[in-house]
Symmetry: C2
Subunit: 142 residues, 2 copies
DNA sequence: TGTATCTGTAACTGTTACTATTACTTTTAG
DNA sequence: CTAAAAGTAATAGTAACAGTTACAGATACA
């Protein structure tokens, strides 16, 4: 498949952590410890989640990070779109084909069609899963 | 998504070309011209397709490459499994999480479950598409 | 039987995209 | 005013892939 980033994984992790720890204060450093990554990496992904309206954060000494809406209303499709917006390919469509060849000239279009179909199916699947479910079923209410 | 390789794309291209040109002789150099890539790249992918029983090739002066079975019986799932066998992740599962954290210790397993579900759905979709269809509908019989 | 052609394969290089890291700015509670 | 934490940018390190070169192995054909 097409993208080699763990941003989706880490984003789901962040959101699950926020739900799990909703009664405590969560900082990027705390998240970094749970994910086992650099705080700057966490903040880089947070930026996307904030832009997508999934989390909110405050600044200053007692700064904290929280979910921007109930965990049951955050689907994995929301997370996927937030982190992989630029990358809409399930597999990389090779576009540098030979335009003078009857096959080569049509392949990119055909592959784009295949990709679109698969992506749609995949997104439908992701839309049925929520952060709330994952925490309830997989981690338990903290 | 998880893999940044165009091998699936090129593999589909190769198979479509073989079906389209089934009355002519196809060489790796001809394929390389259509794909617009180095013949060695073509042969690298051919190796996987041969191993998967999708194509057959002969050696020597009049060597040629052919489909090993009717194009209607080659699904995109076959192609996907042939090229992405080692890469069973739709997104990269981050496994280096903190094992002493109640969230971090469970995330890899939870993400693997999500991945398995999405992958299954995706594979079902790919199983419904064949090389035969693509050539018939998208390129036309040569 | 020798030679040309083409696949099979291995090794190396270049490129690209991602994570890790560092450092600095901005904001806000006390 | 100071400390703590998010926001952000720039750089370095790393890993995976495509591109390339080179050569070995097989076979048709003269």
């Amino acid at each position: 498949m097409a993208n080699r980033s763990q941003q989706f994984s880490v984003a789901v992790h962040i959101l699950c952590f926020l739900e799990f720890n909703k009664n405590g204060r969560t900082t990027s450093e705390l998240l970094a410890m749970s994910v086992n990554a650099n705080p700057a990496v966490i903040r880089r992904i947070m930026r996307k989640l904030t832009k997508a309206g999934l989390i909110a954060s405050t600044l200053g000494t007692n700064a904290s990070i929280t979910l921007a809406k109930p965990a049951d209303q955050i689907t994995l499709l929301d997370v996927h779109r937030a982190t992989e917006e630029e990358n809409r390919e399930v597999f990389i469509v090779h576009r540098g084909t030979n335009p003078t060849c009857p096959v080569g000239s049509k392949m990119p279009y055909l592959l784009e069609e295949v990709n679109a179909q698969v992506l749609t199916t995949m997104e439908k699947e992701l839309a049925g899963m929520t952060i709330g479910q994952m925490v309830k079923d997989g981690i338990g209410i903290g």
